[in-house]
């Protein structure tokens, strides 16, 4: 895991480096493995339990890999008011076992929902057909 050591080194000297490190690890490997937790704990002079506790607290970090690409569908109140709940069912149908449908609470586009994010690409004013097309193209 050469990359992991580069990541750790890149954050040396930073105040409170754990979250930035975990973000980089998650981005590089798609999850934060047991092995990564051990290495991070050692490097930061923390216990493994402490690092694990942090990883499990935040929704963004995964302990296990998931090969599927993800679509994050907003299901917070403003998107609910614009029909996100009906869309969620449609998204699950289109996704099947190929795509992971995640719930996100607000993308800050609350006047033009329902909204979704794939990677860093944002999609607004969705309806059933648009969601199906988005997922089909993933």
């Amino acid at each position: 895991m050469a990359d992991l050591y580069h990541i750790l080194a890149a954050h040396d000297g930073r105040e409170g480096p754990l979250l930035p490190i975990l973000h980089d690890v998650q981005a590089a490997f798609g999850h934060v493995s047991e092995e990564a937790i051990r290495a991070i704990a050692l490097h930061l002079n923390l216990s493994r339990a402490e690092v694990s506790g942090v990883v499990s607290f935040y929704h963004d970090f995964r302990r296990t890999p998931d090969p599927r690409t993800a679509i994050k569908l907003c299901r917070a109140e403003s998107c609910q008011a614009r029909g996100s709940e009906a869309l969620a069912a449609e998204a699950e149908r289109s996704a099947g076992s190929r795509v992971r449908v995640e719930t996100v609470y607000c993308l800050g586009l609350c006047s033009v929902g329902p909204n979704a994010m794939i990677g860093e690409d944002l999609h607004a004013r969705l309806d059933g057909a648009k969601v199906a097309a988005l997922i089909g193209a993933m």
Partner: protein, 490 residues
């Protein structure tokens, strides 16, 4: 021809990049500016001051040929939605390129910081106090008082932390500041640094805002020489709503679980890494350059009662004219929803609006005469929070919305206190029984009891304020919680 199109994430989500690419492909110069905040018109195209929107890439040729009449909105700056606003914080919205230092300086940028250098710490704090500026993150605490506490706190090392976690549904003003006018926020933080004697600032941005993160990172690099020796660093959240709570946020910045800390000590005394810390919302800090540049009185001249200045109100959900509406405090909720917002987007009657995010109360139209003001909202058992208004039409099921409030609290609870962690789950179960028609009256009493326990026994407002949406839904929309007949449920 010079064509102006926003590069704000909302415009981009609505297809602005494709529109920009089409104009460029036809040989026109495209300037990417901040968003005017008229979201129903995005992507908005501006040519010689005149606007067209919402524009699709396939409309571009028609606009260039003068056939785009049905998309034309006239002079953008004169649009009634813009003309009716008092834009102090959003004065540059739609007008400047977000990462242009030249644009920023040419529109009054850095004047506040220069004046702050001349004034010195005590006088800066006095100015902010006199402006009446209150925290825009939700609690409405006077910014000047917080700053003075940090200024007077002993300590070599102090920090400025900008709370850009903006987790409330129905809000996007922080995002628009960071993407549209990032130097203004950085200037506000630098002024705060001078005021309290801090040389380092952090901006904690939620991970759901990748565009804002990139803009702020670029802006911090560009502005570094202008604010030195003060330094700003961008940090990214990790998908936990509770990390918007200030002490949870500090734990997160330190690399810990985002659990809420008991107060005291206040962050102003022992905040980040145990040092005295100013923690303010994006809008609070973004209002500061105006206060310093124009003087406290210029800001305090707007507003009503103890709510001074302006509030960037965010019109969201099922609303016809959604977007950013900055206005002096005192405008009524009804004016905002019906007159400015134009009612629902679906064209059906407005049934409920939730003000202040997931912890805010639901209001029926009967309360639309409530003025937008911290105290007036508290008087009707609500809060203005971060200024988001989510509109619902008459298809909304308020029992479901109340259930969602418990659900959200259960999902996002940091787990530190029992009333929040357990109460939210129990509340959801109990409401499920009500929804299923099982002894509604006694179960609703149980919900009310639970809400009392959560309200008074929770450490922070996640558990403490979840009763607002729940109880307001029950109080104002009792018909949705009654025993349901077959047809009503259908």
């Amino acid at each position: 021809m010079r064509v102006r199109i926003s590069d704000d994430a909302l415009a981009v989500a609505c297809g602005a990049d494709a529109v920009a690419a089409r104009f460029a492909a036809l040989g026109h110069e495209v300037v990417r500016v901040s968003s005017w905040g008229m979201h129903w018109l995005e992507p908005l195209v501006e040519i010689d001051g005149r606007g067209y929107g919402p524009v699709a890439a396939s409309d571009v040729e028609a606009i260039l040929d003068g056939r785009g009449k049905q998309l034309a909105i006239g002079v953008v700056a004169d649009h009634p939605f813009i003309a009716a606003q008092t834009r102090l914080t959003f004065a540059r919205a739609g007008k400047t390129q977000p990462l242009s230092l030249d644009d920023y300086a040419a529109t009054g940028g850095w004047v506040g910081l220069e004046r702050a250098h001349d004034l010195g710490a005590a006088a800066i704090v006095a100015e902010v106090t006199a402006s009446g500026l209150r925290g825009r993150g939700g609690a409405g605490f006077p910014a000047g008082i917080k700053w003075n506490t940090v200024r007077l706190a002993p300590g070599e090392r102090k920090y400025i932390v900008c709370n850009a976690d903006e987790g409330d549904s129905g809000t996007f003003a922080d995002r628009m500041v960071m993407e549209g006018d990032p130097f203004m926020l950085i200037e506000g933080m630098a002024i705060a640094g001078l005021a309290v004697g801090a040389s380092k600032g952090f901006v904690y941005i939620r991970s759901e805002y990748p565009h804002a993160i990139r803009k702020m990172e670029a802006a911090v690099r560009l502005a570094a020489p202008l604010i030195a020796p003060f330094e700003v660093e961008i940090r990214v959240g990790a998908g936990a709503y509770v990390c918007g709570e200030e002490t949870s946020l500090l734990n997160s910045l330190e690399g810990k679980r985002g659990e809420v800390r008991a107060k005291p000590p206040l962050p102003a005394h022992e905040g980040l890494f145990g040092c005295p810390t100013v923690i303010n919302n994006v809008l609070t800090l973004a209002a500061v350059p105006f206060v310093l540049a124009q003087g406290a009185q210029a800001y305090a001249d707007y507003g009503m009662g103890r709510s001074r200045g302006t509030m960037p109100v965010q019109l969201a959900g099922n609303v016809k004219y959604g977007g950013l509406f900055e206005t002096a405090f005192g405008i009524t909720l009804g004016e905002l929803v019906e007159k400015i917002g134009g009612g629902t987007d679906s064209g059906r009657p407005v049934r409920a609006v939730q003000v202040g995010g997931p912890l805010g109360a639901y209001f029926p139209p009967a309360l639309f005469d409530t003025p937008f003001d911290y105290e007036a909202f508290a008087a009707v058992d609500g809060l203005i929070g971060h200024g988001g208004i989510t509109v619902f039409d008459d298809s909304v099921d308020m029992a479901k919305q109340a259930r969602f409030a418990f659900d959200f609290c259960a999902a996002e609870s940091c787990g530190k206190c029992t009333p929040c962690r357990i109460g939210a789950v129990r509340g959801r179960e109990t409401l499920d029984k009500v929804i299923a028609g099982e002894s509604a009256a006694s179960n609703l009493e149980l919900v009310a009891d639970l809400c009392e326990t959560m309200k008074f026994g929770s450490l922070c407002a996640l558990g403490g304020f979840t009763p607002y949406p729940v109880m307001s839904a029950i109080t104002h929309f009792p018909e949705d919680f009654g025993p349901r007949t077959q047809e009503a449920a259908a």
